[in-house]
Every structure is written in structure tokens, then in C-alpha cells.
């Protein structure tokens, strides 16, 4: 199976081609075909995993070299897929969670006139995402990287009839492209200094040849790409707007898989980041600041999906934070668990939107658990997991990361991360209570989603409940940590001033306290939270507008950009058009004279011809 790993990305590619070419003729079958292919990919990925587990731990790397791709002079790149614990973990998440979301989307997109196209795009996304995680060199990874960006654009703008959707799609594309350009420069730097883009060569031979300065430059450039794709500060502005896309897209691309590609990239390139201590510190700071920033912004949102989008950004911040501390297995554990419960949360939000005819404002929801008991249960499981209530998956992942900050002797980071954990619990309990509990604020009756949409949610909820217990019981000894050890190294042991039991207790107390506070404010009916924006317009404005960074960027980019554009228009109108228009007028004037030469008599033409020939001969003769 290890050599047949190329089948896994090929299946969704076939699905995408079929969907795009025969989308209309396939009808509803397009959805089942797409789901089936990704599901089959998951089965193959499990088979690959079993093969990999059959090998001794230190030999669990297999490179399936498919064909020469580019070979120019000394530059050569193969299309080669790398199967190792890290890539197979990502593959399982992409195909597994991906298949569930595909299944959900069959119900969700049921009435859409472009049903087949939607699934073709989804499959294309899965293909590129698999290329991204399975690539054995940076160039192939970059192809996948740009491919998922394209699919993200197509799917955010899937309902392009809405101007907000099409501009959100453009915003996502352009913003991530800023990071991607830097990342491409990083890849070029790698090639210049190492002479190869293969992971094996770069992390083995190359790592010993790089100076610290070069490694820092490469790592920071790659990080810029990761920041753009993973919506971290300062390139995060596209993610909340990306919620304009259909909800399954938000779940698959903008929560579970694509946005975590940045984390994958940093973990994959950890050798380069470790060569440069600076880059790791930057990762840590970016992650922590993004986590806190997005947590605060999420609390200010009244749009259900935007609140979840900021929570995704905050969670990915935690992943970056863990990566920056060299706690790669922790970052990956959070990535996997987050994929489970965030997909669950988003799809449940999809149920709510479905039931309320696309109402997204939480101020007009409330008390929905009466109408949608199953969805309420799913959302509760997902939210409590994210909040860090044991024994749900999110508890293990987040607690280990926060705890690691303490055991690795980063006290300030630990305090801030604990604050972030508290805020996380607060910001996710808030939509839970606003949507499903408390007083009913909307008039509309909500209808529960049908069974085909509930089935994938049940699976995700199950994974959310058991995922942490199975994969990551402890930071050093969890199954995932042990599995990833050959790729990213063992978790460093450390001693904290507080005992492990104390750290875990603090973590649990914070989470429970946050949920309790959230209940008191948003569900008990004793706090008039709806009046908060009137009483504290300043603070509410800062939170709701995510600290006005969008406005700031508008000032920094749009205003000078528009001014520059206007200046260019003047140049275009006056100078370029002016020259052409003036010239055209001269030609028109001259053409008033020219026709008089055209007498229409053959003999006058012949005479002119003769005189010309004679003149030419004379000229040539006199010159000779």
C-alpha cells in the first residue's frame, strides 16, 4: 500500500474531473460519488497507516517517487509523495473529516442549482490538500498550497451572486497571496542554499550547511506563508469574511483542514525553525497574540459563523504557540482534535442556519434546544470540548499545550496561555448559550435537520468525545505523540514550579469558571447583555470590529491604493490617451489632403510609378 499512496489523492481528482465535466448529468449522484471517493481515500489511508505501523518506528518513512517533474540543469524536482507519521496523520484527518463533511453537504446543498459543481470543487480541494500534506518537496507542497487557495476562493465565492461573497473570496485570495509570495521566496532561498527542495535533503544535509542567518530568513519567509494560510496576525482579516461561503466549506476548509496547513508547514519544517531560535520565538509570539486577539474578537461577534471563525483563528494560534515552544506533538494533537470538534461545531451551525433559513444573527436565536434537541447536543459536546472540559478531546490538547508552557519554564507565556484558555471557554460557551439556551428571541419555528445530515455529526461527536482519550492521554506518552516521535522528536521533559496535578486542576477550574460565567451572562436572563453595546459603545465597538484592524488596513492599503489609482487615471487620460488622441487628430487632418492625390486615373498612377522608378534609378546610379 505504501507504493500505492498516489491513489489517495488521485481519487478526489477523478471526482473533481467527473463533477466538472458531467456535473449536471450526474445530478444528485455527484454528491454521493464525491463522498464515496473521499471515503475510499480514507480507507486507503487507513490501510497505509496499518502498513506504516507494521514497520519499526525508526523506519516509518516511505517516499513514493512517481515521476520526474522538472529537470533543468542542476535543478530537479520529482513528483514524489512522502508517507511518514506526520503526513499520514494529516491525510487521515483530511480524508476522514473531509468524507464526513462531504456526506453532510449532500443534505445541506440539496436545493442548490450548482450541486455538482460544488462537489467538484470540494473534491478538488481534497486533492490539493492531500498533495500539500503528502508532497516530498517544497515545490510540490507549494502546488498543493496554491491549489487549496484556489479552491478556497472558488468555494467562498460559491454564491457569487451575492456581492459580499464574491468580495470575500477575492479578499481571501489576495490576503493569503501576500503570505504565499513570501513563502515562494523562502523556497527559492532553500534551493539557492541547499541545492535541493526534497525534504530529505533539506532537513538532513541542508540543515548542516545553513548558517543561522539564512535559516532565520528561510524560516521567517515560510512562516509568512503559514500565517497567511492559517489566518494569524497580521494576515487574518480574510477568515471572518470567508464565512460567506456555504457552511460545509467553512467546516472543511476554514476550520478543519486548509487553515491548519500553516501549522503543518511549520511542524514539517521544524528543523529549519530550530536552526534559528528567532523564528521559533516569532512563531510562539504570533500564535499567542493571535490566540488572545481572536478570543477577544470572537466574544464581540453576534454572527454565529463569524464567532466560530475567530475561535478557529484563536485555536490555530494555540497550535502555533505550541509549535513555537517546540511542542510539535501537542500542536498536532490540537490540530487533529480541533478538526473533530470544530467541524462538529460548524456543521451544527449549518443545521441552525438550515433550520432558520439562513439566519446567522445570534440575537435572533436563543432557546433553540427545544426545536433542535440533537443539534443542541452536538453543539454542547463541541463547545465543551473546545472549552476544555474533561474528558473531551479539546481538554487534553489544550491542557497539554498550556501545561507545557509551565513545564518548559515559560511562566509569562503560561499565564497568557491560561488567560487564552479561559477566554476560549468563554467565547465558545457564548454562542452555545445564545443559540440553544436562554429565552427565545426569534419568532420563526426552527426545524431540525434531517437524518442524513445528523449522521456525520454523530460520528464527529463520537470522535470529539473519545479522540483525546485515544490519541493524547498525556503529553509525553499519548498515542499520537509516540507515533509522531520519529518525525518531530520526543517531547522535552521539564519541571514546573507547580505539580502536574495542580496545573491540570487550574486548567479545569478556569474552563468551568468560564462556562459558568458565560451561562450567567448569556443564558440565565439575569444580565441584560443586549444593552451592553449601548452602555459600553467603545468597548463593544472594539470587540465587534476586532480592534478595527480591517479599518486600519483599509486606511493603510485602500486609501493610498485608490489615490494611486486616481493618479494613474489622470496619467492614462491626459498623457497616454492624450498622445494617441492628438496623433489621431493629426491623421484625420492629414487625410483631408491625401485624397486629392488619388485622382482615379490609371495613367496618373502609371506616371507617378515611372517617375518614382526613374528617381530611384538616378539615386542609385549617382550613389554608385
Amino acid at each position: 500500500m505504501l507504493d500505492l499512496v498516489w491513489l489517495i489523492p488521485l481519487l478526489p481528482l477523478v471526482g473533481a474531473a467527473a463533477g466538472l465535466l458531467l456535473g449536471r448529468r450526474l445530478g444528485k449522484a455527484a454528491g454521493w460519488l464525491a463522498t464515496g471517493l473521499v471515503g475510499l481515500g480514507f480507507v486507503l489511508a487507513v490501510a497505509t497507516l496499518l502498513d506504516l505501523l507494521g514497520l519499526p518506528a525508526d523506519q516509518r518513512v516511505h517516499v513514493a517517487d512517481l515521476f520526474d517533474w522538472i529537470s533543468v540543469g542542476t535543478f530537479s524536482v520529482d513528483v514524489a509523495l512522502r508517507v511518514d507519521p506526520l503526513s499520514i496523520t494529516m491525510t487521515l484527518v483530511v480524508t476522514g473529516v473531509g468524507a464526513l463533511i462531504h456526506l453532510y453537504a449532500i443534505g445541506y446543498m440539496d436545493r442548490d442549482p450548482r450541486f455538482g459543481t460544488f462537489f467538484a470543487y470540494l473534491n478538488l480541494f481534497v486533492f490539493f490538500m492531500l498533495m500539500l500534506v503528502l508532497a516530498d518537496n517544497y515545490l510540490l507542497l507549494y502546488v498543493g498550497w496554491e491549489g487549496v487557495g484556489l479552491c478556497s476562493y472558488l468555494l467562498i465565492g460559491f454564491w457569487f451572486e451575492r456581492p459580499s461573497a464574491s468580495s470575500a473570496a477575492k479578499k481571501a485570495f489576495v490576503t493569503t497571496r501576500i503570505g504565499d509570495a513570501a513563502m515562494l521566496l523562502g523556497i527559492v532561498l532553500i534551493w539557492l542554499h541547499v541545492g535541493s527542495l526534497d525534504f530529505g535533503a533539506v532537513f538532513g544535509r541542508g540543515a548542516s550547511e545553513l548558517t543561522e542567518g539564512t535559516a532565520t530568513a528561510i524560516a521567517l519567509l515560510l512562516l509568512a506563508g503559514a500565517i497567511g494560510k492559517s489566518a494569524q496576525l497580521p494576515l487574518h482579516v480574510w477568515l471572518p469574511d470567508a464565512m460567506e461561503g456555504p457552511t460545509p466549506v467553512s467546516a472543511l476548509i476554514h476550520a478543519a483542514t486548509m487553515v491548519t496547513a500553516g501549522v503543518y508547514l511549520v511542524v514539517r519544517s521544524h528543523v529549519l525553525f530550530e536552526l534559528s531560535g528567532t523564528a521559533l520565538t516569532v512563531v510562539l509570539v504570533v500564535g499567542l497574540v493571535s490566540a488572545l486577539y481572536a478570543a477577544l474578537a470572537s466574544i464581540g461577534q453576534f454572527d454565529l459563523k463569524r464567532a466560530l471563525a475567530y475561535s478557529t483563528m484563536s485555536q490555530i494560534g494555540f497550535m502555533f504557540f505550541a509549535t513555537g515552544m517546540r511542542f510539535y506533538t501537542g500542536a498536532m494533537l490540537l490540530l487533529v482534535c480541533h478538526a473533530f470538534y470544530k467541524a462538529l461545531l460548524f456543521l451544527t451551525a449549518g443545521n441552525v442556519l438550515h433550520g432558520l433559513h439562513d439566519e446567522t444573527d445570534m440575537r435572533r436565536m436563543g432557546g433553540l434546544r427545544a426545536d433542535m434537541p440533537l443539534s443542541a447536543a452536538w453543539f454542547t459536546i463541541g463547545a465543551l470540548s473546545l472549552a476544555g472540559i474533561p474528558p473531551l478531546a479539546g481538554f487534553f490538547a489544550k491542557d497539554q499545550i498550556v501545561g507545557f508552557a509551565a513545564t518548559s519554564g515559560r511562566e509569562v507565556a503560561w499565564v497568557l496561555a491560561s488567560l487564552g484558555a479561559f477566554l476560549s471557554a468563554l467565547y465558545i460557551a457564548r454562542p452555545l448559550f445564545l443559540t440553544f439556551f436562554g429565552r427565545r428571541r426569534g419568532e420563526e419555528h426552527a426545524h431540525e435537520a434531517p437524518a442524513p445530515m445528523q449522521a456525520p455529526l454523530a460520528v464527529l461527536a463520537f470522535l470529539t468525545v473519545v479522540g483525546g482519550l485515544i490519541l493524547g492521554l498525556t503529553a509525553e506518552g499519548g498515542r499520537l505523540a509516540r507515533f509522531l516521535e520519529p518525525v518531530v522528536g520526543a517531547v522535552e521533559d521539564g519541571e514546573a514550579a507547580l505539580s502536574d496535578a495542580a496545573l491540570i486542576s487550574i486548567s479545569i477550574v478556569l474552563a468551568v469558571a468560564a462556562v459558568a460565567v458565560a451561562f450567567w451572562v448569556w443564558a440565565s436572563g439575569r444580565v441584560d447583555w443586549e444593552a451592553f453595546p449601548q452602555r459600553q459603545p467603545e468597548l463593544a465597538g472594539w470587540l465587534a470590529n476586532a480592534f478595527y484592524l480591517n479599518t486600519l488596513y483599509a486606511w493603510l492599503v485602500q486609501v493610498p491604493g485608490k489615490a494611486f489609482g486616481r493618479a494613474l487615471t489622470v496619467v492614462d487620460d491626459r498623457v497616454i490617451d492624450g498622445v494617441v488622441n492628438e496623433f489621431a487628430e493629426d491623421v484625420v487632418e492629414a487625410s483631408g489632403v491625401a485624397p486629392r492625390i488619388q485622382r482615379g486615373y490609371v495613367r496618373s498612377y502609371a506616371l507617378a510609378f515611372l517617375l518614382g522608378a526613374v528617381a530611384l534609378l538616378l539615386f542609385l546610379g549617382l550613389r554608385a
Partner: protein
């Protein structure tokens, strides 16, 4: 003892001049056409004459080429003149002044 080259050139020049004047002063398209042929053949004559003088066959071969081209051109040219005559009942080039500016 061969004829001096100057005679050939002189005959050729005379033929060419007659042809040129014919093109310039005649009105009938057919006659103009014949004058053009006269010019062409004047040039052919110089080609053959110089070719003989230099003992090089290229000139004579080129003369054949120009005859073939002239023949092809006559086919097209006559066809045009006949068509114009059918439409206008006249072959006078002075009537064909549609292109006057």
C-alpha cells in the same frame, strides 16, 4: 563575330520606351495591357542579351520565368478587363475612377 551588346540594349530601350508611352497615353485597357507586355519583353530581351554576353545561363532561365509569370498574369488581367467591359460596356481606363479620393 557576334552582334555587339549595344544593339540589343538599344532595341530593348526603344521597346521599353514605346511600352511606357503606351501605358501612359492610351485609354483602352487592352492596349495598355499590350504595352505592359511590350515593357516586359523589352526586359526579357536585355536578360537574354546580357546572359549571352556573360556566358551565364541564369539570365535566360529568368526570362523563361518572367514569360511564365507574364502568361499567368495575362490570364488574370484579361479576365478582369473582360469582366469590367461586361459590366460597364467600356474598356476605357478613364471611366474607372471609383477610387478617386
Amino acid at each position: 563575330m557576334s552582334t555587339p551588346i549595344a544593339y540589343f540594349v538599344a532595341v530593348s530601350a526603344m521597346l521599353f520606351a514605346i511600352g511606357t508611352v503606351g501605358v501612359l497615353i492610351r485609354k483602352n485597357a487592352l492596349v495598355i495591357f499590350m504595352s505592359v507586355e511590350l515593357q516586359l519583353n523589352a526586359v526579357n530581351l536585355t536578360l537574354v542579351a546580357f546572359s549571352r554576353m556573360h556566358g551565364n545561363l541564369s539570365g535566360q532561365v529568368l526570362a523563361f520565368f518572367s514569360m511564365v509569370v507574364a502568361a499567368a498574369e495575362v490570364v488574370v488581367g484579361l479576365a478582369i478587363i473582360v469582366t469590367v467591359y461586361r459590366r460597364r460596356r467600356s474598356a476605357s481606363v478613364d471611366d474607372l475612377t471609383v477610387l478617386r479620393g
